[in-house]
Amino acid sequence: MERVNRGSALMWVIVALVVVVGGFSILGGKGGAPSTETGPIKIGVIGPLTGDAAIYGEPFRNTVQLAIDEINATGGIGGRQVEAIYEDGQCNGKEGANAAQKLVNVDKVQAIIGGVCSGETLTVVPIAEKGRVVVVSPSASSPALTGISPYFFRPYPSDASQGNVLANIAYTDKGWKKVAVIQEQVDYAVGLYKVFNQVFSGLGGKTVKEEFSSNVTDFRSVLTKLKAEKPDALFVLTQTAASTQRILKQMEELNWKPQIILDEASAGDKETLTTYKSQLEGALTSEFIPDLSNAKLQKLMSDYKAKYGTELPYLGYMAPAYDIVYILKDGIASVGYNGEKLATWSRTIKDWQGASGSVTISSDGDRVGGYSSEVVHDGKTEPYKK
């Protein structure tokens, strides 16, 4: 056994620690002081900026920055510029907690926009609550977040109404008795399936479900199996348009073109709709963006494209993200930049008009109302008419 020279090893450790901790406090000192009355307004933002869920985190970051830039260009809020501090939550509870700890206790923000995933959000809320910081999520949809804290609200409805709407139309209007479901194993999809299944079976229908974990890219055998069930329709329940595109492509290769029910994660992705136009013809879906003719939404989409060079994806999540920044602007202008006051104020939001439609927040923090059903026609979504 060889013994490492203890003295030098110890020195090495100490040096490393000093460098890291030192850099930490020097650079961290930048954000350490709480916002003064005249300094910039610092808002925390938590999202999955790296990892598999970065496909949401990146546009989310971009959308928030877009809104902030717009606000700053018109003078900021009460004459103060707005600054976002972005932290990576990696769609994971532990990282979300780390990010929240830093934002609440080191940067001393009064508001946090995020998380994007329920997993991140569920650990952020308790920490924010302790620090009396308000948390607003554009897309975390877990039912566990309903009423979790007076410091949390979300301009995003719970999955319950989407599942309900779809199940009713599928059974009653379309007369589909057997629906195959290919579902990703994420909280959003699991929750939505549960509601859909409950309502659909309650009406007398039958579902056949296959699940897949998020890292799967080869759906061929699962699809083959579902195809053999000869269902009236296939419900593609994924978290990302990427998985949906893979599924649609593989379905086409397998020569299977059933009627499709789409969830909003994919319905909101224009590229999916146009690329898979023929397969998606007549597909049933439901989004809570009532229609793409919402002027604010259209402006958001064109501004995003102009600034970032790509189409805005996942409208169902990004429109609320954009709205959140403006909602906070109104809140701060109204009650000042204070977490506690903003939290109380949030429950008074009623019929606030945004890119995602009309926003009303109920007493448990959830958005009221929400989903309208739609049909895909010629590569675009349109409101569903009986």
Binding site: T50, G51, D52, A54, I55, G57, E58, I182, Q185, E210, E211, F212, S213, N215, V216, T217, D218, F219, R220, S221, V222, T224, K225, K227, A228, T240, A241, A242, Q245, R246, L248, K249, E252, E253, L254, N255, T275, Y276, P313
Partner: protein, 288 residues
């Protein structure tokens, strides 16, 4: 009967990609003897290189592919030279090499995400562009057939090279015992460098194939690598034909499992197969 045929075809397609992964992995592992996490990322980098040349620069398809394969090879070669070789010279343990390769994986993934964003991208140009062949009621596309043929060609070529050329014999010697090989006069350092180039290039092919078939994201390298590991162990570590056999077997079991059980247990099934083989036949089906 339709379903069974389609399941079988699905397995062929998946197996072809796994074959490419395992061919490269086997080559690298047999000479360097450590679990290189970076390999998965280098494979994906090859796919992204093709994305860059073909889609962003608009170069012609086959030139882009050749460039992509070459870049994957060079990347692997450089990493071996700069990182793994110094570590091995210092007689670092395989655990240390593993951690270093984790660093490599993390860095490459981060770079790919910065350059290409984390969004999912395919190399093909839209849906339905590829001709589909009907075989006994099942469907397979032209692209998939090409991938399948490529995998078989590479396997044959590699098998022949390793068996009949001087180079191949030298590689085998190093795989058996590096020290003895250098005593006998084989420049093992240079050989390992070349092996890393070839192995990474083959990995790049797997990445490119994945890019055409199921699409690219910076983070899919690790699971691709793990599939290759299972295929290698099932088929026989160090044996070229064994690896390919293992790859197709793995694909068949995965797809059968998805068919007979539920799709969501696909990962667990693959790894249960791994554990079973480790227990009862660790040398694999075709031992060296």
């Amino acid at each position: 009967m339709d379903i069974a045929i389609q399941i079988a075809l699905n397995a062929l397609i998946a197996g072809a990609i796994y074959s490419l992964v395992v061919l490269g992995f086997n080559l690298l592992y047999s000479t360097s003897r450590f679990f290189d996490l970076g390999y998965g990322a280098i494979a994906i980098a090859g796919g992204y290189a093709v994305l860059y040349f073909y889609k962003l620069l608009g170069l012609e398809l086959w030139s882009s592919i050749i460039l992509g394969i070459f870049i994957a090879g060079i990347l692997g070669f450089c990493i071996e030279k700069i990182i793994y070789r110094p570590l091995r010279t210092r007689k670092a343990s395989s655990a240390v090499l593993l951690i270093a390769s984790l660093g490599v994986l993390t860095v490459i993934q981060a770079v790919l995400a910065i350059l290409f964003t984390s969004q999912f991208q395919t190399l093909g140009r839209g849906a339905g562009e590829s001709r589909t062949f009907e075989i006994f009621g099942g469907a397979i596309t032209q692209t998939q057939s090409i991938i399948l043929i490529t995998a078989l060609v590479v396997m044959t070529a590699l098998g022949l090279v390793l068996k009949y050329t001087l180079f191949g014999k030298a590689v085998k010697a190093i795989a058996d015992d590096e020290e003895v090989a250098s005593i006998v006069g084989i420049n093992s350092e240079r050989m390992i460098g070349i092996v890393f180039f070839i192995g990474s290039a083959i990995g790049g092919m797997a990445g490119i194939a994945t890019g055409f078939d199921t699409g690219l994201q910076p983070t899919i390298g690790l699971s691709l690598l793990l599939k290759g590991v299972i295929a290698a162990i099932v088929g026989g570590i160090g044996n070229v034909y064994g690896g390919v056999l293992g790859a197709f077997l793995l694909a068949i079991i995965e797809n059968l499992g998805a068919w007979q059980f539920s799709g969501e247990w696909k990962d667990a099934i693959a790894f249960i197969v791994l554990v079973v083989f480790l227990l009862f036949r660790p040398q694999g089906i075709l031992p060296k």
